[in-house]
């Protein structure tokens, strides 16, 4: 018997959210002043939730490991945010955004959640503009849009290649206003190390002050987890160095089910790995696929010549180039969804057509776009017979305006000028669709523990479309949680302040201190990074872009062994008190080493290919993902029982009433 109740309201799809809001219990303003909420994580989801809850009158405490909420990794999102405004009049609507997202997620997301997301998406843009977010505009003064993968309309709003930065600074400014009013208390350089349950409800957290090393108890009437995804389990990813799964993993161990951990997004356009010293990977925004064309040489000998340096990209004649995405997927071309583009790049490189020293790169080429824009601009400037030089100059100016900071970043890292030679790119771990299972109210299986943004599993199914993460983070924080949390907090108006001297707090604190002491006194031989890199290698080789049963079984055993070795042999220098970066890392890697095993177990159990989860055993003759809707059209939610390998599977069946489930095709 499943314990999962998704609490999806009844009634027609388009009326569910309105109806639900009308039926929700409210807390009166005077009572809100007596209710405390903890928000862990201050990215788009956390910051927007914290600001809105504080505006409503709740007392909010925020926690982030960074030295400022503004540094959360949402800041690095580049390309844009989707909204079904239909400002371009190109046929967009809430339904179409909903449809694209469900299809993009390979029919593994919940209809009601996704529709709600589409419904509130337009309001996010209104909100952000009102806050002073400087979105890109057209000459007439109205907002500009561009296109992203997996869709046929232009619904993406952007601020150059720094959309995440501008949206996060907007949410951060809303937080600052509430900090100034005394309604938010911000605990920066603090890390949550456990959740505290009292009578089965989330009532507080144990946190470590990362400057003094002191362990602190914080109580509240509800705990909101918005701590992001777990892509750093792969060691190399586009996540920030500090991004981690600890908050999510701790709530999982205390009773929150972990859903679809194997759904990982491998982003197709990242700067390739350059060597063993590499500490992280850098994304080149998907928006570049609006204007960039992806190709490898048609002939193997050309690819080899490029690899050994005797030829360059510009030496390959147009007819000898294989624009493989345009060839395989004529209707979406270079703008197929991320999972499809990544697998296609891997396929070409595995077949021997890769174009850098390691053979693990393809070209992303802007020459065609520079020419097209150049001609257009020349005409606008009244030059009717432009020279090639003039065309290039004008064209580059347009590209610079659109993607300037990305081109600059590329040049800094690779030391090549992408205006002159095509970029080299390769897929890398970017986003995790899986996360803590939540119901329609965003509440986990621990009452009073809510999970938002990338940390939950809810809206993207098995693959997320570009520019939808920012949308989901802000939708959850600004427009969903502030309503739904009231429903459960309305029962707390007489509870009073939760004391932190309860035995539950004492026990949780004791466990945290024990773990810290064990690590600091371990006196092992190897650094934390040594283990993290080993884990990353197992994950990439055996749980990465293509998976099979044999590899996944091996991964489960190897991760387990590595975890045992970690606890036997890790060396954490320094002391428990005071700033200790190695100790912080050790705590995070310890959790990744547990999650890894559950990740592999989930991937092993899902005997189908869908979205970012590609099982080599399940593919069509053309190498496309082959779903098994009869047996796997469900959310896999795992219950912790003391060991990741013994986690119990709970299934939430996915029901599609408003959309026809069919093979996902971008041809």
């Amino acid at each position: 018997m499943s314990k999962l109740d998704s609490k999806i309201p009844s009634g027609p799809l388009a009326e569910k959210w309105t109806k639900h809001k009308n039926n929700i219990n409210l807390v009166n303003p005077a009572n809100k002043r007596n209710i405390d909420v903890i928000v862990v994580g201050t990215g788009l989801a956390g910051a927007s939730a914290a600001a809105t809850l504080a505006e409503l009158g709740y007392n909010v405490k925020t926690f982030c490991y960074q030295d400022s909420p503004r540094r959360a990794h949402s800041i690095a999102a580049q390309g844009g945010i989707n909204a079904s405004k239909n400002y371009q009049g190109d046929g967009d609507s809430d339904y179409r955004l909903f449809y694209d997202t469900i299809k993009g997620g390979d029919y593994r997301a919940r209809e009601a959640n996704v529709y709600r997301l589409a419904e509130v998406s337009g309001n996010i843009i209104d909100q952000c503009v009102a806050q002073g977010v400087p979105f890109a505009r057209e000459y007439g003064g109205l907002l500009d849009n561009r296109s992203f993968g997996g869709v046929l309309v232009s619904r993406t709003f952007y601020a150059k290649g720094q959309t995440g930065q501008q949206l996060l600074l907007g949410a951060y400014s809303a937080m600052n206003r509430q900090i100034n009013r005394g309604k938010i208390e911000a605990f920066n350089r603090h890390e949550m190390l456990d959740i505290v349950l009292v009578d089965g409800r989330a009532r507080g957290i144990i946190a470590r002050d990362l400057v003094t090393g002191e362990i602190e108890r914080h109580s509240a009437h509800a705990v909101v987890i918005a701590s992001g995804g777990y892509g750093n389990i792969f060691f190399l990813s586009t996540n920030a160095m500090g991004s981690n799964v600890t908050a999510s993993w701790k709530v999982h161990k205390k009773g929150a089910f972990f859903a679809n951990p194997c759904y990982t997004q491998i982003h197709p356009t990242c700067i390739p790995v350059s060597g063993e010293h590499q500490s992280k990977l850098t994304l080149m925004s998907e928006s570049l696929r609006n204007d960039g064309r992806i190709w490898v040489p048609k002939k193997k000998e050309d690819a080899e010549a490029i690899r050994n340096g005797t030829k360059t990209a510009n030496d390959i004649k147009p007819e000898d180039r294989d624009y493989y995405l345009e060839r395989r997927y004529p209707s979406f071309g270079n703008l197929v969804p991320r999972d499809v583009a990544s697998r296609a790049a891997k396929e070409r490189c595995d077949a021997g057509y890769g174009v850098n020293k390691t053979g693990q790169a393809v070209f992303l080429d802007f020459a065609t776009a520079i020419e097209r824009y150049g001609k257009e601009q020349a005409s606008i400037h009244g030059i009717h017979n432009p020279t090639q030089e003039e065309i290039k100059k004008f064209g580059r100016e347009v590209i610079k305006n659109k993607y300037g900071n990305l081109f600059q970043m590329y040049e800094k890292i690779v030391d090549q000028n992408p205006y002159e030679t095509p970029m080299m790119i390769y897929p890398a771990v970017h986003y995790t669709m899986g996360g803590i299972w939540v119901d329609y109210n965003l509440e986990s299986t621990i009452p009073g523990c809510y999970v938002l943004g990338e940390a939950n599993f809810s809206d993207h199914g098995a693959n997320r479309l570009g520019a939808s993460a920012l949308m989901q983070g802000l939708a959850d924080g600004y427009f969903v949680l502030p309503y739904t949390i009231g429903d459960s907090l309305s029962k707390d108006i007489r509870t009073g302040k939760i004391p932190t001297d309860l035995p539950e707090f004492e026990e949780a604190e004791r466990n945290v201190v024990q773990m810290l002491e064990r690590l600091i006194n371990n006196n092992g031989k190897h650094s934390v990074d040594y283990f993290h890199k080993k884990l990353g290698k197992i994950m990439w080789d055996k749980c990465g872009m293509a998976r099979n049963a044999k590899h996944l079984q091996e991964a489960m055993v190897e991760i387990r062994q590595l975890r045992e070795e970690f606890w036997r042999d890790v060396k954490v220098p320094g002391e428990m008190y005071g700033m200790n970066a190695e100790l912080e890392k050790a705590m995070r890697v310890a959790d990744f080493l547990e999650l890894g095993e559950l990740f592999a177990k989930d991937a092993l159990h899902r005997e189908e290919s869908c979205g970012g989860h590609f099982r080599e055993e399940y593919q069509t003759e053309e190498g496309e993902a082959l779903r098994d809707d009869e047996n796997f059209m469900y959310v896999a939610a795992w219950e912790y029982t003391g060991d990741p390998k013994d986690a119990i599977l709970h299934k939430e069946e996915l029901i599609y009433e408003n959309i026809e489930v069919k093979a996902r095709s971008y041809k």
Partner: protein, 255 residues
Amino acid sequence: MKLTLKIWRQKNKDSKGEFKVYPIDGIEGDMSFLEMLDILNEQLINNNEEPVHFDHDCREGICGTCSLQINGQPHGPDRLTTTCHLHMRSFSDGDTIVIEPFRATAFPVIRDLVVDRSSFERIQQAGGYVSVNTSGNTIDANAIPVNKHDADESFNSAACIGCGACVAACKNASAMLFTSAKISQYSLLPQGKIEATERVLNMVRQMDEEGFGNCTNTGACEIECPKGITLVNIARMNREYTAASLKKPLSNSWS
């Protein structure tokens, strides 16, 4: 390449710091500066020494966490570059590299190369926002057209990453480039103009209270800013400040 690193080591804010010298070998041009420090730290840990603490997070040049005064320059020798994007190809075999924390009274050292920039937080909290509720009941985003030039210029100011290089570069440890960037972002947009008077007065007051120095138009901040924030922002803030200071209080003394 082989390098000699002279790195500032300081246990905590109350202890006295000192430079320590670390030789390092096997560094390649493709490595980022922080990856070079990762390698040093791995060696220190293996030799049972404490690793060097430094601030870093996204390593994509956007979060503003990384800092470091490298050979006397915030974020090192390259222009428009954060330390995380500085690559070792900017150095040569045999170089000595001096690595210090950002130095300013308002940025006390926490440990080694890590400084406390919470003074920046308090400046933002004093007025770096538009007072609009996030309830969603706002007007349509396209209801107020904004001139593209103003919108782009506002974006250029908003691109500040709050790293503090401007303060570290300034002989007066002034935070005027940082503060003026936020004030400019809002003053160029219709949404921000409404509270312009209070914003500039409050943010400047907070900036002064935190112990940052004044601007003497040296321009080092603009040169060292990894995001190209210009002195025009400071000029704009000064104009806003003057205008705000001359505004009369409300005419009804009871209100």
